[in-house]
Symmetry: C2
Subunit: 240 residues, 2 copies
């Protein structure tokens, strides 16, 4: 089709990297492309912390639940919601924070996806590290995040040292609705469960039994970071 669409369609998360560095020129290009993304109301509410300090990388890998590639990736970027700069510029304003937190989360995703895709277009690979939200306060203190600035997720980038299969996504007939919400098709989910069961059983590593539905039941039955609300409140990004 074209390079943009081909890059998207061939996306796989990469969690194993060679020791080869990303050059300063490559990183500069990746970050320039990342920050060119759209920004809600031109607020520009994202900060990226590039972490090169090996000791900090080790702590972040632990914070993320022992994801060792946080230490070994050529680059590790931490994406944050950041209204600190806005408050420095306009200390008098008292905005409403559920909405501003939502804007910050959406815009962090938008900027990060440009960043990841720019890296992939250069032959690099990467993975989002939502696991930083397992220990948001420890990450926050390690990186010295001020009030109104909160960690959202990390991103490993580097030269791929693995070639995983592409993970099959929910089909468009489930994800995309026409003119109004359409009820979930049990038939479509049954087909997708077959497809994902096959994927889980035949992928190159971490093979397992079970379908996407099984994965969802297992994943959502665990407690989902109940401390996140307190963390956001402590940063002034009040949701209470």
């Amino acid at each position: 089709m074209n390079q943009v669409i081909d890059t998207m369609l061939s996306h796989r998360s990469i969690r194993k990297f060679t020791r080869e560095a990303i050059t300063p020129e490559q990183l500069d290009t990746i970050l320039s492309a990342g920050i060119s993304a759209s920004s809600s109301s031109f607020l520009q509410t994202t900060s990226i912390i590039r972490v090169t300090d090996p000791e900090k990388r080790t702590v972040l890998a632990e914070c993320a639940g022992g994801q060792q590639y946080v230490e070994t990736a050529a680059e590790f970027l931490v994406f944050c919601i950041d209204y600190q700069r806005h408050f420095q510029l306009s200390p008098e304003v008292k905005p409403e924070f559920t909405e501003l937190t939502l804007i910050g989360a959406i815009d962090a995703g938008i900027m990060a996806q440009n960043t990841l895709l720019a890296a992939e277009s250069l032959g690099l690979g990467g993975v989002y590290i939502g696991g930083l939200r397992n220990n948001p306060k420890a990450v926050d203190e390690l990186l010295g995040l001020p009030k109104y600035c909160a960690v959202m997720f990390g991103m490993c980038l580097g030269h791929p040292d693995q070639d995983p299969k592409i993970k099959p996504r929910l089909p468009k007939k489930v994800m995309v609705h026409q003119d109004g919400y359409q009820a979930l098709s049990e038939e479509a989910i049954a087909e997708y469960d077959d497809e994902t069961s096959h994927y889980y059983q035949t992928r190159g590593s971490n093979q397992k039994a079970g379908s996407w539905s099984d994965h969802i039941s297992e994943r959502l039955s665990k407690e989902s970071r109940p401390f996140i609300r307190d963390y956001l409140n402590s940063k002034g990004l009040a949701t209470k």
Copy 2:
């Protein structure tokens, strides 16, 4: 550099479109590329509502505060956080919703950015419509969104009928920090304010006086959708 990075670096939001349609093949490609994006814990928490009904488009344009291009764009997509399908598959689970709402917002941004960029790579243009959150309940009812499914933002796509200038972003030395949060440089902001003042005064339409700092003060002094928290709570995506 390459097509991916060139497409990102030349991004401008497009709000004026020709009457030319997006072909079904183009739309299919754009959506396939969009849903190939990463998904937190493989939860796949996004639904896209494609709105073709002209009457619904008219209502949505009003909901967004009179953004007429919501009516006239070749395609209009509404991105939603969607845990309805997960609850149908696993009605017994009771997850914690500040975290899941955050995941949903971030992942909607990630998927939407793939979608927009795929369209731009085909010579199309578009713009995010966060204004749908001005009237979330009206949008929600119009599209028949069930519990655990909440509107986040819309996206216009079509053939550009304007050629706006690229809006200068905050410089990397402000957006990107090294190993820890770095205080805002007043000098960097002053330079950026000069740059944005020049941009606002010389852009092709909607010229105005003032800098980015002025824009921030003005924008954040307005009430920022204080009803969003109640809306999310009403959808079961509790933040209270």
